[in-house]
């Protein structure tokens, strides 16, 4: 059994969560609701305050947590879109809501702001998590089969089609078969 990170508890973790956890969650929701009713005025002002002061506006980031420099933001989106989230393996870290993905996005953002190249960022990730994190692996000896497979399949398919067509073309036509009429 494995555990995901705390706030990642959404859909993926629910799979493995025992019943008591669900019960506890329900209880927690109940408590929260009660607390919300009791503390409604203060909670409302707090929520308002939070809405007015966006979470992570910094010199480098705007109110939506995007990099202010559009070129950097474009690179950020491209890079995070090409890195696999290790927790939900078919999602990129750009798409994933898991906390590890958020940590890795933070890492990419910081490296971009530190002026690092795309290659340096990909290398950072593959040094730690392996080639598997790359949705778009570089063409090298190890990955030759991945990149070559489509072409091998295509040649194989073409050969099969060629053979079948040639064999069929050698067959007599239907109306020439004896007793076909």
């Amino acid at each position: 059994m494995r555990c995901l990170r705390p706030a990642a508890a959404s859909a993926v973790a629910a799979r493995a969560a025992p019943a008591w956890r669900a019960a506890r969650a329900a209880a927690a929701v109940g408590v929260l609701l009660t607390a919300a009713v009791l503390l409604a005025p203060s909670a409302a002002t707090q929520a308002q305050a939070q809405a007015q002061a966006p979470a992570r506006a910094t010199p480098a980031l705007d109110a939506y947590g995007q990099l202010r420099d559009p070129a950097l933001q474009a690179r950020f989106e491209r890079i995070t879109g090409q890195l696999r989230c290790l927790v939900c393996q078919n999602e990129s870290i750009a798409d994933s809501n898991v906390e590890l993905a958020a940590d890795l996005r933070r890492q990419v953002r910081e490296m971009l702001l530190a002026g690092q190249s795309d290659q340096a960022i990909f290398k950072f990730m593959t040094d730690r998590y392996g080639e598997f994190v790359r949705f778009n692996p570089p063409l090298e000896a190890k990955t030759l089969l991945i990149w070559g497979a489509p072409f091998i399949m295509m040649v194989l398919g073409a050969a099969i089609v060629y053979r079948v067509v040639r064999q069929r073309s050698r067959l007599p036509l239907d109306d020439e078969l004896p007793g076909s009429m």
């Binding site: 990170r5 705390p6 025992p18 040094d127 730690r128």
Partner: protein, 179 residues
């Protein structure tokens, strides 16, 4: 000839593919660590139990040690706690804990309640050290040799069986090789 060869080749190809891909014992979430054979990433963090104390793995150079990644939010870490305590009692190697994305008071409470198998417990509040180690969940347990190289990584809860089968032989050979 082709008529027989082609389906048989296709069948064998698929059989090999499925034997690997559909093997129920294979954990698709288990990704081989690129860190194996590489120097262990260095960290210097405060101890969960005593914030004034610094836990640094640079100081452990020359020693074989285990790094166990855990967190109080992780149920499987609770499961492996007994195994870790038993391993700690053997006293074969120091067990360094890496408390990953956690709250200090909760972690302290956990160690008081469930027992503390760790020689030192580094507190990785923002998960940066864990990223350096390629951690993507918990529990994960690393084995580092006397030269400070990662020699093994085990993903999921530690058991006495895994300890005996995977760790002890590697520790023995690391000590022989490192002597």
């Amino acid at each position: 000839m082709w008529k027989f060869l082609l389906p048989i080749t296709a069948f064998l190809g698929l059989a090999v593919l499925f034997a690997f891909g559909l093997n129920p014992n294979r954990d698709i979430h288990e990704i081989p660590s690129p860190l194996i054979g590489k120097p262990a990433p260095l960290f210097s963090l405060s101890d969960v139990r005593d914030p004034a104390r610094i836990v640094s793995n640079a100081a452990l150079k020359g020693q074989v040690y285990v790094l166990n990644v855990w967190g109080t939010w992780c149920g499987a870490c609770r499961e492996e706690q007994d195994a870790l305590l038993a391993i700690a009692r053997q006293g074969v190697v120091p067990i360094i804990g890496l408390d990953y994305m956690d709250q200090r008071d909760k972690a302290q409470q956990w160690l008081t309640q469930l027992g503390d198998p760790y020689t030192a417990v580094a507190f990785d509040a923002d998960g940066r050290t864990a990223i350096n180690w390629g951690v993507y969940g918990a529990p994960e347990t690393f084995l580092v040799d006397g030269q400070g190289r990662v020699i093994y990584k085990f993903i999921s809860a530690m058991t006495p069986d895994v300890w005996e089968r995977e760790f002890l032989p590697r520790i023995a050979s690391a000590r022989r090789g490192g002597a």
